[in-house]
Amino acid sequence: MRNVRKYRFRISQSLTIAAVAAVLVVGGSAKRAHASDLSDLVDEVQPKMVKIFGSGGLRRLENYQSGFLVTAEGHILTAWSYVLERQVTVHMFDGLRYQATLVNIDPVSEIAILKIDAGGNLPHFDLTEQPDAAAGTSIWAFSNLYNVATGDEPVSVQQGVISAVTNLNARRGIFNTPYQGRVYVLDAVTNNPGAAGGALVDRDGNLLGMLGKEMKNEGSSSWLNYALPVAAIYETAMSIIDDPNYTPVPVDHLATGRGGPKAEFPMTLERLGIVVVPEVIAAATPPFVDDIRFNSPAQTAGLLRDDLIMFLNGNVIHSCEMLREQLEYIDRDDTVSITVIRDTGGRQEIIDLTIIPDF
């Protein structure tokens, strides 16, 4: 709560800051001095940025994304996605490469913390600094969109303005994401393939937020360019970093299930009576419930249409494909526990359900 208050308090000052920033931007274009200021900003931010490579690589399923260092010891904040599912390699700004371990994730805000062992004195953003930003604030977005930068090449930088600070009105059929918190809506086309996990900074190079995943409004076919404000993810991120026992989700989701043998007679969605949404993008379609079969175990358990499945027997699930895979490790006659996010009139509820298969 401390940080939330701080955030609110500063909003009153932000109007002045925004006005000053606007003046600087206009003045900046022509003067050499200002131009080099911008270059200095870029030079300051670049060493904190990393390029992340992992799973994917299929058509329209990029195997790369962006991230940035948030501790001197090598913690990296990025977006939680299938890219981080298996082995993750991190490329530093100077071209050095490290294998990263996944410390933990938060499936609601869709953030992840990675850790590399690269000494204890790395340049990084300070998450406790949470400068205010408002509509009109000039921003610079750093990310490895389209994987344009390789090796020691600096990541791309784009310039824009915060168009709005608002709550993401996400729900199935509009924006497929469990996150419904505050976002900075940007006027620059920042959220491209690979940009997720990029850094949004102000003129002084202070971290304002983290670029989110690509998000398309299914209703209007328009793409949203946005970032999660630091204040919205600070506590979760710090909890993951500071508390080794922090358990928003079990991290061993990769081990359980897949580690053991597959069931001889596995559970299926059909048997539970669940129909998930069609797989638009393999491995990246969020597991929303599209329909419940009448009189099925799922209906009996209280599962509803439009529920977003987050956990299956304690393991995090982030795609329809993964849901089907995980079911293969469960015997067809076993009881299944499911955790879903349900939109109840604009409010999100996390609900645990137990589904008992019919015999």
Binding site: V26, S29, A30, R60, Y146, V148, P154, V165, V189, S220
Partner: protein, 624 residues
Amino acid sequence: MANGIHSLRNIARFASVAVVLSATAAFAGAAQDDQTTTAATSAPDVQVPQALLDAQAHRVEVVARARAATVAVFATGGRGGGSGVLISPDGYALSNFHVTSGAGDAMQCGLSDGKLYDAVIVGIDPRGDVALIKLLGRDDFPFAPMGDSDQLRLGDGCYAMGNPFLLATDFAPTVTYGIVSGIHRYQYPAGTLLEYADCIQTDASINPGNSGGPLFNNEGEVVGINGRGSFEKRGRVNVGVGYAISINQIKKFMGYLRSGRIVDHATLGAAVATSEDGRVRITQILDNSDAYRRGLRYDDELVAFGGRSINTTNGFKNALGTFPKGWRVPLTFRRDGETYDIYVRLMGVHRKDELIEKAQGREPPPKPKEDDGDGDGDNDDGDDEDGNEEEPQQPATPATQGMPAHVAKVFEARRGYANYYFNQLEQQRVWGQLSASDELQPNAPWTIEAEIGGGLTSSMELSTTGAKLSLPGGDVELNVDPERPVISNSMEPLGSGGLVAALYCWRRFMSEGVDGFGLMYYQGEVPLAGYINAPPHSFQETLVDCLVGEHGGAECRFYVDSGSGELRVVEYFAEKDMDPCELIFSNYQQMNGRAWPTQVEVRFGNQTYQTFTLKDVKVAAAAE
């Protein structure tokens, strides 16, 4: 045939996407709720700082200046188009190959004054996606100066101008502003064409129709030619990731483009890869490449290339991709702890006919794709010709058909050329500078007396029927039948690579000129640095004009410093894929009424064969 990116029939599709973009903007508005903070509106009586007013005035001035030089390119008959930028008052303008290839040899260009001018193709670089065109009808066109794209830094402001979606019916360019998002970017070619090496990435809006248009820096200098962007799933509209060909790359090709030829990019004849220890090593090398003859071998570590230090494979591809075929560039490699500095002649990416077919096939060029895997485009067979040997190929209908008369006057179709007219123009320009003081009489024999050090002397007798070189060890002679001249495969004297033949070619060129030497063409500007030991970092500042001639079955190259009007180098190639005999001329002084080089260094391969100090040159009356 109009190409896919720019044809007018695609405009309707683009327009529908533009609607979607507006929808995005509308969404951002709708997403605001009651807690949303909005930008401060300015209070009354605000004092605007003078610096801000000055900056605004500067920007207005820069945009006004820059837009006057921006060109809207249209195919004759309105089949499509793109953009361009004027770079000289007599009408030379840059655009993309993928714009002009769809527009044809004659096109129409609109300027911001609302006037439409006829224009003609001059030279094309299909691999680099660059085209040089010439607007006709004025010698006082507004034009933009070319800047130094290597000075760009991430975060610098920049303007893109052009005709996105072919919106402008009055030809007034659209101006978009952004920052430099990335430099030294590498974008893979589609097949072997449209490679964007060492390019500039910007978030200034670049859309279909912007292709070929200029990217300006804050001072209104051209720093790039906008040509492509990353698009993928959102349709072919700007997503904040556009790419511009760096103007510094184009500067290296400028002489080549003015030659009217279809010009090719370079390959080293070797492939590299980054090894486990982070070093860039040679993983393959062709034994008919100049790099191999200069001593480069498999597993050598590449340290520097083309004046740049090389740390990654991408870095090498970026450096290599900006060079024209035939340039001689510095290369540093390391082997067993020893460092070697060499100059390497670069081969072409394409075989002789391959590029012509791809460029003149009149097919739309392939669309750029994101990635085609590993290679650096090396598919060389060592062919070092530019394809001017063939007889002019007459198409079924004359190429000038349908052209306005004043366009047809400056266009000449010939195989291997975008427009042969301009090659002749450049040949005559160079020859005019070379023979500015006084022209030597055709057929006139020369007699030269020279010292070769240690008190020893030498003499040369050069004429239309051959050359005789007298050295302390004896005489070497080359006899040429003027009716059926054959001078190829002449390697004498031993170890010189063909000095007698080279001397014969020197006289023939100086006396008979570009029209009398044999088949001749203007290649473009090339660096002299490999011949005069310039420091590697400044080798690109030593550009001279290069004429290539074929006579008696052998190829000769003549390097002319157009500034001083001096012939600096003659190269004679006894055989293909072999080192030439190089004559390097210096210390021009007056002898018997005209300027002659008093020092002639003869080199072959890695060795200096001999240095001659000329004491006397006599030109006799022309023989009958």
